[in-house]
Symmetry: C2
């Protein structure tokens, strides 16, 4: 029983939908981040839940690893076959199965991307709010507990996945949750699966909450003399209960990147990019209240983006921040990390990142969903400059430790994957053992995305 | 190794804090519902997490059941020692450990009640919104995934518990989650523990999200010719995105109960009781929009409760609905159940309850958090009238099956306990096996609240 015998059995059943072509393996073995190319032994394109179940049964019988693959946009190497095996590409399971407009929910297959879903929803007046930047698959977004710029108002995948269909490690198919808005009936397996990164089961169907398109939207940008002013504005705004839809901090370096990459002429100071959703009256009121808070904290250069195309440009620029970061040092590669801390510790965490990156002479940009206490650092490095790469890794390491020291988490939204495994013990302590017990109970052979999320244990 | 040897060991360590006094056993063996008196073998009053850990280690060594006890307000018999053992009364662990006003969170021990917490928060301008009616303990509310009238706006315990400290079945102490607003770092053990009804661990500390006291609050009541009109009003309101704080349906029978018990003179028709939270402007706008929707759906008798004391009276009356139900048939006992369905199926579910209870000649009242699709039925019965009691049970059974048939859940907020165990297979199917695997992995001896949540299995 080996990976090869599994592939023979799968090939007999799936024919050309099992591929070992080099280009396909490469596509499924690469990462958007700095992880080295890590090829799976084969890529399989299932078209139904029943097929996924068959595949898992065969892989279980042959003790062959299976790694779910969505769009490959993970930043922490979740999709890499570090122990070989089958990359299970769910992109052909991309049907929107039911739009329940009256209940404001939708049932989709895991390969549907968030942009595809919102395109399909256009006529309904509803939308799916979770917005991680990349046009990721909804299965992948659930598996990594993704969030993004709108989590502040609408929550993360955790709050927006109502129910799942999951193929378990023995090939059995379970349904977790219902279309009811709430339930107290038993263990919350939906929330256990969300964020489990393909290590406990393969998500084959999702029921998602939708939101009504707001009657009015307005966005604005404003500048601050320092990050502290911006962060204090954020804290006061959150405490005032203004239901911000988006609230993004952009540090001065990142603004410089935008000015280069996007041709903007923003003052090279820390900025907040914000958005308000609601009725016409509510949006106007929220915006007024926010503007007052900005002025109290010494903000300036307050600019509205009232037209839809101006807002689209603003958020497109924000979503392409990683490319704008690269514009600051075009010959170098870049790596991004994310942490999340209680909002009262946000200024400290950001200051740490600024001071530390300067001390290490690194090109660093900071951008964040600061209303949630979550921010990202991107750092440039030259793969051939080993000392620099080590400084980047030192930075990443110290930032993760800082997050834990400030009662936060080493990842607010990117997930653990390979990159953050080494912090699981420090962040979770004894609870890591509980996670391992659950993993062993649900995947005793460790065939589901092995080598991810849970660091190797000595027991 | 027996319950008796465990009690000897515990008694040696805890002295008079272990009680076998009949009155204490009775207090911990009764239920607010119709379950028969079920005495534990002893009641123990721990005062710290370390003590809870010691107790669990001793009980594990002696294979002795341990049942967490909060305020005893469960409606599904969660706290009853159906297999004997120790009732672990957490009421002495009732300290508010930290109020983090800037982060809008609070750290509490499990015995703190929701009213005590809100009393302590009064000076901060913050409040804890989850409101199940009873002045339950926060540990118990987390364990049963409680919600209540404000879940529509602020979520249930699931959305409001950020982090937990839990003593596991081997006595180890784990911490789940952090004070950061979001995390993608590993399995969501917090959400697994919320709603696990003391079967996976004993919650010894909770970190809870708080909300800012709204600048303005207004409440209103309105009447409808039939339930359908009220439900259609609810659906349209939710779809319009009006951020209702509370939205309660009261059926005509229940209104009659209020008129008797509370001396009100409401027209004996279905009513909605609603509340708006926000800025002055937002509340006025929301209320106007809602009133328009009410009028479109033939609502009448629209009355404002603008003063704080009027609102307090309104919601106190709502919270005492069970007693108002009893006023309809003062010589009988009453039993309540709860289901939750997708909002598009709500009218069907309520109509089923109305028609069925009439057909069975039962005194039935319906009251519900209808914005969530969740409602309760209370039914009167005479313990000595066996045929009537059987009709009540038939009703409960058919209502639960209706909930499942309508893609809903057999309990929206009361939990499984003893009463809803028999529906776990029908509601969860294969997923029940996954729940059992988790239970076995985390509590292999089945000492934590045995005989609850998971029905006995044949395997």
């Amino acid at each position: 029983m080996t990976i090869e015998t599994a592939i023979q059995a799968l090939s007999a059943q799936f024919g050309p939908r099992l591929s070992r072509a080099e280009a396909i393996l490469q596509q499924h073995g690469q990462s958007e981040s700095y992880y080295p190319l890590t090829l799976p032994d084969a890529v399989l394109f299932p078209e139904s839940t029943a097929e996924v179940s068959d595949i898992i049964r065969i892989c279980a019988a042959h003790h062959c690893p299976v790694i779910a693959f969505g769009t490959g946009t993970s930043l922490e190497g979740h999709q890499l076959a570090v122990e070989g095996g089958i990359s299970l590409d769910l992109s052909r399971m991309n049907a929107v199965l039911a739009i329940n407009a009256e209940d404001m929910d939708v049932v989709v297959q895991p390969g549907v991307t968030r942009e595809q879903l919102n395109q399909d929803l256009r006529a309904t007046g509803l939308f799916f709010p979770v917005d991680p930047g990349a046009n990721a698959s909804l299965g992948g977004m659930a598996a990594t507990r993704a969030s993004g710029t709108t989590a502040l108002r609408y929550g993360t995948m955790k709050e927006n996945v109502m129910a799942l269909e999951v193929v378990m490690a023995d090939g059995s198919i379970i349904r977790t949750g219902t279309r009811a808005r709430k339930s107290s009936a038993g263990y919350d397996l939906t929330k256990l699966m969300v964020g489990s990164e393909g290590t406990l089961g393969i998500i084959t169907e999702l029921t998602l909450r939708l939101q009504g398109q707001p009657e009015a939207i307005s966005a604005a940008t404003c500048a601050f003399a320092d990050v502290q002013g911006a962060v204090n504005t954020v804290i006061t705004t959150i405490q005032s209960g203004i239901p911000m839809a988006r609230m993004e901090l952009i540090d001065a370096n990142m603004v410089r990147g935008f000015n280069i990459a996007d041709g903007t002429t923003l003052p090279e100071q820390p900025h907040l990019f914000v958005e308000f959703h609601g009725s016409e009256g509510a949006v106007a009121e929220q915006a007024d209240s926010f503007r007052e808070i900005v002025e109290e904290h010494g903000g300036s250069d307050f600019k509205w983006a009232l037209k839809a195309e101006d807002r689209a440009r603003l958020w497109k620029m924000r979503h392409n921040a990683f490319y704008a970061h690269k514009a600051l040092a075009p010959t170098l590669r870049a790596m991004a990390t994310d942490i999340c801390v209680p909002i009262s510790r946000l200024a400290e965490a950001i200051e740490f990142a600024e001071v530390k990156s300067r001390a290490l002479d690194l090109t660093c940009t900071i951008i964040g969903h600061v209303g949630d206490g979550n921010f990202h650092c991107a750092l440039s490095f030259d793969m051939d400059d080993k000392a620099q790469f080590e400084r980047v890794q030192d930075f990443m390491h110290e930032l993760a430790e800082t997050a834990i020291a400030l009662n936060g988490t080493v990842t607010g939204e990117h997930g653990v994957g390979i990159g953050k495994m080494k912090y699981m013990q420090a962040e979770h302590g004894e609870a890591l053992h509980t996670m391992r017990l659950i993993k062993r109970a649900l995947d005793p052979q460790n065939i589901l995305n092995p080598g991810k999320l849970l660091p190797p244990s000595n027991t």
